[in-house]
Every structure is written in structure tokens, then in C-alpha cells.
Amino acid sequence: MNAPDLPLWAAILVSFFLIAGALVTLLGSIGLWRLPDFYARLHAPSLGATLGTGFILIGSMICFSVLQGRPLVHEVLIGLFVTITTPVTLMLLASASLYRDRVEGNDAAPKKDPAPTEL
């Protein structure tokens, strides 16, 4: 089991963030498998893309900052890209799927847009 030699507190902190992030990501992917229809499944990947990615990147930041003795936060870039790109893909997929379901006349999508809810 080779791994970088960190002080004990940093090792525990990094381990916590890594396992928490991996668990959240796994939960999102299980949701992708378990949820019943496509529109419900759209919600599952954003678990991994928000909290899962966030936790793992924080763990990586702590690890490399301690290892190199200076703040190393370039993982922020990955986080930024993932946060900006995931909504775009999910929105495109949702509208593409809505369009296809309506063209084919499936029951999965409503025939008309629901009336706006007023307070």
C-alpha cells in the first residue's frame, strides 16, 4: 500500500474526505440504477458532480498542500468546470428527451406544459 507520507492529522483528514466523496458518488450512481424513469434518473448524477467531486477535490487539495508545503489549490479548476458543465449537459438531455417523448407520444412526458403554480 504505497501512499505519500503525510502527518497523521492530514492523513486522517484526507482519508475522511476521500471516502466521503467516493460514498456520495457511489450513492448517485446507485440512484442512476435504481430510480424508475429517465426524468427521475436525471437527478442522480448531480450528487456525484457536486458533493462527491467537492469532497474528493478538497482531500486532494489538503494532500498536495501539506506535501509541497505551500497552498496548492489548482483542483478548484476541476470543481469549477464540473459545476458549470454538468447543468449544461443535464439541461440539454432533459430538453432533448422531452422533445423525443412528445414526438413519439410517450406517457413519460406530459403532453402540454403544466400550468404555472401560483402562490
Binding site: P4, A22, L26, V82
Partner: protein, 93 residues
């Protein structure tokens, strides 16, 4: 001591992420519709990127960071292209 803790937890995280990738692949193979497969593929990309980040932590070099960034961006472009194809590909324009 700390090397052992970190090494084992990285292994656990990698196993969990691999299981997550397996779920995404199952959804990709099962379908039933094209959009289900695409969303499986997109999740697969994100999970693979996270797996690369954990590999980078194990090796202690920042080399894997660039690879993870490239995978994330390519996955985004690929998914957008596929979603666009779903909108246009089956309809005669």
C-alpha cells in the same frame, strides 16, 4: 502509520468509485432509451475523473491533474454532442 491509513483509505475510495462506474456502465448497457445510455456515459466520465484524482493522490504527483481536467472537458463535449444528436438526428430537417 499515517502511510497505512492513507493507503488503505485510498484503496477503499477507489473500490467505491469503481463500483460507481460499474453502476453507470450497467445503466449504459441496459438503456432502455438512448438518453438513458447517454446519462450513464456522462456519469461514467465524471466517476473516471474522480478515480484519476485518487490515483494522483496515491502517486503524490500533480501529473494526474491535467489528465483529470482533460477527461472532464472531453466528457462534457461528448455528452453535449450526443444530446444535440438526439434532438436533431432522428428528425428530418
Amino acid at each position: 502509520m499515517s502511510v497505512a491509513i492513507l493507503g488503505w483509505s485510498i484503496t477503499v475510495a477507489q473500490v467505491l468509485l469503481t463500483l460507481a462506474m460499474a453502476c453507470a456502465v450497467l445503466r449504459f448497457m441496459r438503456g432502455p432509451r438512448a438518453q438513458d445510455r447517454i446519462i450513464g456515459l456522462d456519469t461514467f466520465y465524471v466517476n473516471a475523473m474522480l478515480l484519476l484524482v485518487t490515483l494522483g493522490i496515491r502517486s503524490g504527483t500533480t501529473l494526474y491533474f491535467e489528465a483529470a481536467l482533460v477527461i472532464g472537458l472531453l466528457g462534457f463535449v461528448g455528452t453535449v454532442a450526443l444530446a444535440k444528436f438526439l434532438m436533431r438526428g432522428e428528425v428530418i430537417e
